[in-house]
Symmetry: C2
Subunit: 343 residues, 2 copies
């Protein structure tokens, strides 16, 4: 099917069809209508390969998803794609498992697809100039930033929530309601990444409330794995059956914790409160509904692309943005009664 | 950073570095080791742009995801990417909302990226030769097939579960346990798509068990939307508070139904059983655990890519494969007691 077929079907010249398809103003309404009818009837797709191919080589933005299968990322990926396409760029995606090197993946994709820039969705928090040297195009960290690294912050952009502050806020929500035996479920207290930052927030909230830290309330598990969270909380309950609240650093963990507590005969929130960070859709449908700090997923995506395009087009410099999470109150947290306070 | 820097750092010739990087056999173990050490130390990424770019133009497979954000697709996307890369192809992804035209999206991506073939993850079930004419490259339907269309089945491949048969199996699982007032939650009984096929399976199981169809037990909602499922089951309960079981055509709906039943004061499974199709990870952590027919997600992905590559490389023709789902028994279904049977 070519433009000639469209011209023949609609009974106008090839150049008229071309003008309609290229949105030229000098086309009569009648001709435009006939051409568009023909395009519809013939299911004609304009052959833009030459134009698009040159676009693909010059205007492609890469997206490296680190942690393929993480449900937190699913709506963010869609929003990033939309923002990239809306800005007139094309997108190239590559997904890697949570443990792999997103910088090397970005560099490799960049070589293969001649990217203008890359969005890293998930990654390490300790970049050095040496490590990021492999990536010689602009990049933006989406949902994380370089909290532990030494890299010059003018060399990249980032947009994320303030992990330490939001974790503090979640735990403070518990201490304000009288909880003192508050467990934390996280992947590691010293991963120089998201988990360590959220652990710091947990510690600060405890300290502020005059609650001494207690290692037996800290449960480390594998990263963001529901099965690991489920096993982790069961281990924790063997050790500390007296806990009154659990802070999980991700909603996926929170969902698994609700399940494990239920099976252990603990009612949520009467016997144990649970709070989390992320705000996944599924957390609206847990029993009880999970109380969580919802990340602004669409805004994180939108801003990440906007920051990157600013860097690519040299309209602006780099920037590091923290967006606030939004408290989504479910039914998984309850204030301790005065009687419990005494214990 | 160039290959010369690697040669200098490792103290070997540029041609030796090249041989190592290209996996030539005539390199001593000592040289190979020194070069790889240098590559690591310098974080060198081989500049394959010329080679990769020509690959990208000749060996790219497209993936159109119809229903971005559907958690059922998340693990399948990862498996498809892995299978495509393992086969030596590159992948180009485009995600579209559930209601949009996957054929047009595939055609557009094909023009822009010169695809060899395309995997349609989610799509319509009623293709005609005329509609698919826009897509002039091999394509495979993944998780669905052309049950309602007139298109020549030698013109494409597909891999999916047998939706009618699996729905029958799910409902039969309920009738075998004495249930007769069985509701179905689906997006439409006549969408000429997945929902209509599963509705047919529901009807067949009822008929076989001698249960007359009852329209008041059929609840149509928006496609795969948890919020819609939640509202749908609430509406249904107003009308038919006497139901003893619900079949939902997707796990996401099942999760929302468990929540709504709980809030309505109905215990699952004592007062109402729930069974579903999909087998999402989250369904392992609902309260109670959802009984579901698990789709073989990894195998669907693997076979889809394999079928497509057969078509691309002309090693084989087209094929249409049904894979069996696997019963994953949770705690959401219970047999009716004899007393209940009498009602």
């Amino acid at each position: 099917m070519t433009i000639k077929d469209v011209a023949e079907y609609s009974g106008v010249s090839v150049s008229s069809v071309s003008r309609v398809l290229n949105d030229h103003p000098d086309v009569s309404e009648n001709v435009r209508k006939r051409v568009l009818e023909a395009v519809n009837a013939l299911h004609y797709v304009p052959n833009n390969s030459a134009r698009d191919l040159s676009r693909a080589q010059t205007d492609a933005i890469g997206l490296i998803v680190r942690g393929a299968g993480n449900p937190f990322f699913t709506p963010i990926i869609s929003s990033i794609e939309k923002a990239i396409l809306d800005a007139g760029y094309t997108m190239e995606v590559h997904q890697i498992p949570a443990g792999e090197d997103e910088l090397a993946a970005g560099a490799s994709l960049s070589r293969a697809k001649r990217l203008k820039g890359v969005v890293l969705l998930g990654g390490e928090f300790d970049y050095t100039a040496e490590r990021t040297a492999v990536l010689d195009i602009p990049f933006v960290c989406c949902t994380f930033t370089n909290s532990f690294g030494t890299m010059d912050e003018n060399a990249f952009s980032s947009v994320s929530i303030d992990d330490e502050a939001e974790a503090y806020r979640a735990v403070r929500y518990l201490t304000d309601r009288g909880h003192r035996k508050i467990a934390i479920l996280l992947d590691s207290t010293h991963d120089r990444s998201i988990s360590e930052l959220r652990f710091r927030g947990y510690c600060r909230a405890l300290t502020e409330a005059g609650i001494p830290q207690d290692k037996t309330l800290v449960q480390e598990i594998d990263y963001y794995d529901m099965e690991a969270a489920y096993r982790g909380i069961r281990e924790l309950l063997v050790r500390r059956n007296d806990l009154t609240a659990v802070f999980t650093i991700a909603d996926t963990m929170g969902v698994a914790v609700l399940k494990a507590l239920h099976e252990a005969g603990k009612r949520v929130p009467e016997d144990c409160s649970v709070i989390s960070i992320d705000g996944l859709e599924m957390s609206r449908y847990t029993i009880p509904t999970l109380t969580t700090l919802e990340q602004p997923k669409e805004e994180l995506a939108r801003q990440a692309v906007s920051l990157l395009i600013n860097m690519i087009e040299c309209r602006g410099g780099t920037a590091h943005i923290y967006l606030p999470a939004k408290l989504r109150e479910g039914r998984s947290v309850e204030a301790l009664s005065n009687a419990d306070f005494q214990i």
